[in-house]
Amino acid sequence: MSDATGVIHDIGYQRYTGPRLGRRQVFGALYGHGLRTVFGLGRSAKAKIFPWLVVAVVTVVAAGLTAVRSQLGQVVLTYAQFADAMSWLVIFFVAVAAPELVSRDLRSGVLPLYFSRPLPRGDYALAKLAALMTALWLLLGGPQLVMFLGAAFTTSRGMRGVWDELLDLLPGLLYAGLWAVVFASIGLLVASLTGKRAFAAGGIVAVFLMTTPVVGVLSIMPSRTVNELAFLASPSSLVSGVGTWALGDLLTQGQEGGIPIGGFGPVYAVVAVLLVAACVSLLLLRYRKVAAR
């Protein structure tokens, strides 16, 4: 057994010598894949049921509002009020999408495969977060575009009317972006805590729903300051508060609306920024820990 008899043959395998795509392409691929995952594209029909159910409902509501407006000439909901009215559907959409994005990867243990690529830990989480934000923004922005098109084609004042309508739409889209950023950061953080999609969905809904009645209670407290700060307690009313402060009349377009936040507008903006920052940094911390396992 002392004679070395083995020979390693060169059977012609070649190393890859072509160009290698960098970090940006990895991020982009992950983002694109995440966005497709949210809507169930490229997956079985079962995965499409819930996301497209929500999309269908919001689109039908927007079409109904457009029809009412074109027939009766009455604005039932402005663009921003539309986003507020759809809040329960947005919560449901987050509960569907966020576990799909992160919980499945945790459950099936593919994260080591991801992190064996030239992919920084943070990039994985940020790409998923960006995908969820984009999806939420599309979910709220798409129906607003439907409403805009309906209004633009039925306006009686020509190009002037279309231009005015566009000026109403843009703050609405900005406001939808605010919704998307806040809800995506909270939802993805909750979902990243557990590998079970069922628990992740339940947890997200519990977090969002539990906070809403707190606002209702705080706003009937005997202190005016507490009343005006009450809307900080829930993500959806926090978003409304920031919108009321930052965009003001642009959102309500002279109608009744907005929430009574008094002079605390800047507080709402600061809290919203801090909330998103805290959620994102906790998410990054979470993935530092997961990746270390």
Partner: protein
């Protein structure tokens, strides 16, 4: 106490994630105590705390997580096979699991509701809320347990019911309230302890009959579905 009951209870309590359920009742009690100690009029804080938080959020969400968890978790990781291959009639699997689910949800929800009811009005309202929420927990648990056998995504289906049917449609379309467990619970509680705090459009006999019907019907459905159950992998 059968072995299935024991396994189910241990599966629920044995994990730390059961602690995730605790904040919901704690917030309920905390808000009630806060309002009471500040002397806010119960007519004002009663509806948002008792109905808005207690019956509309805590009860369905706890029942959803527990009710789909007792059987759904075992189906998910495939260990349900170990129970199914034992020589047990199917109802002896479903009923203990339903009992555990309903019991856990009922205790988690009824205790804070009792405290809040006593603080809001009287012991009678507290007891009425306890009785009604136990009935509601039974109906919800039966519904969600059956869902976990009908579909591979029981939590999302349950959320569709809780969020869209009860939450969204219940607010805008009055007719849907007849088929809403939440409204039945309110009707029952209001019948036992008539106060100005609870109010609904559903009549009490309808609520009582439908609650019983849902409980029995969905339990029967669950037993029937478990009779010919195919174990499959996670949906893609």
């Amino acid at each position: 106490m059968s072995t299935v009951t024991w396994i189910t209870a241990r599966g629920l309590f044995g994990r730390s994630r059961f602690l995730m359920l605790l904040p919901l009742p704690l917030v309920l009690i905390g808000l009630a105590v806060l309002c009471r100690s500040l002397g806010v009029d119960p007519g004002q804080w009663g509806p948002p705390v008792l109905v808005g938080l207690g019956l509309a959020v805590v009860l369905p969400v706890v029942a959803l997580i527990v009710g789909t968890g007792v059987l759904g978790a075992e189906i998910d990781d495939g260990t349900v096979v170990h129970i199914l291959t034992k020589p047990l009639p199917r109802w002896q699997i479903v009923l203990p699991k339903l009992a555990v689910a309903a019991g856990v949800s009922a205790v988690t929800v009824a205790v804070p509701l009792y405290v809040a009811g006593v603080l809001a009005d009287s012991v009678r309202l507290g007891l009425a809320l306890v009785a009604a929420s136990v009935a509601g927990a039974l109906a919800y648990s039966a519904l969600f347990l059956a869902l976990s056998l009908v579909s591979r995504r029981p939590v999302l289906l349950g959320l569709v019911y809780v969020l869209i049917w009860e939450g969204l449609l219940g607010r805008f379309v009055d007719g849907t309230k007849v088929l809403s467990v939440q409204q039945w619970v309110i009707a029952l509680a209001d019948r036992i302890a008539p106060t100005a705090l609870l109010g609904t459009t559903v009549s009490v006999p309808v609520a009582a009959v439908l609650t019983a019907l849902v409980t029995v019907g969905f339990t029967a459905l669950a037993v029937d579905r478990l009779r010919s159950f195919s174990v499959a992998g996670e949906t893609s």
